[in-house]
Subunit: 334 residues, 2 copies
């Protein structure tokens, strides 16, 4: 029997609005013995994502909700400390749904090996992880940008937005980011090469989009929903594509989600709005990771992680996403 | 100089909500002399369409608004009574944007000849006119139904809906119509062969869709918007396509249009919502008309017109559309 103690964050209650401290419980329990084909992973970094808020609701979605008293779901990167699988050995680094805990026992098929010499471990939760895959497939497969197109991305300084904008630049598009605050706006323009940025906290987004996209928006990659989605709808070019990736402005809504009142802009502009879930592209992750790693090696694609420390700070750190406090991929170092 | 008097309905004021009698003016003026290349058409039938309400608003759309004091725009079918074009001769029957008046003077390129021996004249405003084209291209090009799919259409007993449902049946789909009242529902099932119909005035549409579409909706052809759009979004199948053709429930709204609060169903279901404007397919109208005329000849596609009489009744007749009083294509016989 394994004598290691496994500290976990479990979902104690379904949140109403922003998750409160009492919606979580901290539990310590011994790590159980491994069965054949299982692997014990020490969690090193956890991915904090807006989508986690949705997993806490008891609602039909693209993935089952986290149950009450279940360990909170989270992607993570860790190191194998014990293995009953021929595919993994002690010292291997792996990514997978490790969840918010110190140790994860998982079947071998739930893990993917990563190489820390090719990229720092947090990058496997960022550009080479779910946010990068989401940006890559959402933009290229659903958004279908063409060189010369105007691409607008909201949540531009976030984990997905930073990658969307950079890939759009690589593809020859004009890129306008929408982010909160002068610092984030400066970051995406000066560090990441976006053509312009709009500070939604200081500017009228609808007007600013009209200024920065005089010929209309060809691709709008939406991470936020709400008023910013409406501002984008008001500025579409003919045959525009809206990628519905997320709606962070609505995830903690305690009233009904605000639907876009000007959705008939889709009709006027013969435009389309399409949802995407990254898991649908799982069989192509490797292909995307290879291409993005190549862009990173060429200096065309920067990975930006916002690494915060301390397992027990998980409940507060998660809220940073909804307060817009992170720049780049928010990662919790365990 | 032409001594014929031309009675016209002009837009007197921009309506707020449902158009009022005072939003129109009746004007009689002499028909002007023809220039070279022009044709004088006596208007026989006028097409009354929900889209006309949108043309009355001073808003950017897919077509310029009708100006104040301008003759109201309307499609129509008529007979040539004088021609200075080698392409048309007296007695020819034509369709075009004849507008709400007794006589139209138009350049030859604005008119298309039709053959009254192949189909009764009102059919050229119905299945073989804009509503038919809208149904054909909206369903087939944007909705992309596949045999076995579940297709739902709102405004099912209307000019577009009746054709959408019948084409979907021809393509081997299961078809559920949404209409107002038992009579319309019976009509689309018994006369047009829909598999089921939901009476939105008597039933909970969301629940009824769940019953009639147990595997979800693959294609939703939306003519109405509002609550019915939300009910459809709540019942989408994976990879569903929503064709945004119209939103008759919202055209007379005096408050902000109601956006679909559950639009994130697009994300969960990887679905898409796409607008269409029939004019984009103008170069393929002839092709579509040929195919639909073939279906009509084979008895697979029925054309249904609701013909009302009397030019001066135009203002009230138009309101029939917004009160759901017509079954099939509403046509005003001049």
């Amino acid at each position: 029997m394994n004598q290691r103690s496994n500290r976990q964050v479990r979902l104690a209650a379904r949140p109403v609005g922003l998750p409160k401290p009492t919606d979580w419980s901290f539990v310590d329990e011994p790590v159980r013995a491994l069965a054949d084909g299982e692997v014990l992973v020490k969690v090193l970094y956890l991915s904090l994502d807006p989508a986690m808020r949705g997993w806490m609701n008891d609602a039909r979605s693209y993935i089952r909700p986290v149950a009450i008293d279940e360990v909170m779901r989270a992607g993570g990167v860790g190191i194998v400390v014990e293995s009953k699988s021929p595919r993994f050995k002690e010292g291997d680094h792996v990514v997978g749904s490790l969840n918010v805990q110190h140790f994860a026992v998982l079947p071998e098929k739930a893990l993917t090996k990563v190489d820390p010499r090719l990229a720092p471990l947090p990058v496997y939760l960022s550009v080479l992880g779910m946010p990068g895959m989401t940006a890559y497939f959402g933009l290229l497969e659903v958004g279908q940008p063409v060189a010369g197109n105007t691409v607008v991305v909201s949540g531009a300084a976030g984990a997905v937005g930073t990658v969307v904008g950079q890939i759009a630049k690589i593809k020859g598009c004009r890129v306008v980011g929408i982010a909160g605050g002068a610092e984030k706006c400066a970051y995406v323009v000066k560090e990441l090469g976006f053509d312009a940025a709009i500070d939604y906290k200081a500017e009228d987004v609808k007007k600013a989009l009209r200024t920065h996209c005089p010929e209309g928006i060809d691709v709008y990659f939406d991470n936020v929903g709400g008023d910013i989605l409406e501002a984008a709808l008001a500025n579409l070019a003919r045959k525009a594509r809206i990628v519905v990736c997320g709606a962070i402005s609505q995830y903690n809504a305690t009233e009904a989600v605000k639907g876009p009142s000007n959705y008939l802009s889709l009709l006027v502009n013969r435009a389309r709005m399409e949802g995407m879930v990254v898991f649908d592209y799982a069989d192509r992750y490797a292909e995307a990771a290879r291409e993005m790693a190549g862009w990173m090696a060429q200096g065309k694609l920067k990975s930006k992680e916002d690494i915060v420390q301390g397992f027990d700070t998980f409940p507060e750190r998660l809220l940073m996403l909804f307060k817009g406090e992170n720049t780049g991929k928010l990662v919790l170092q365990v």
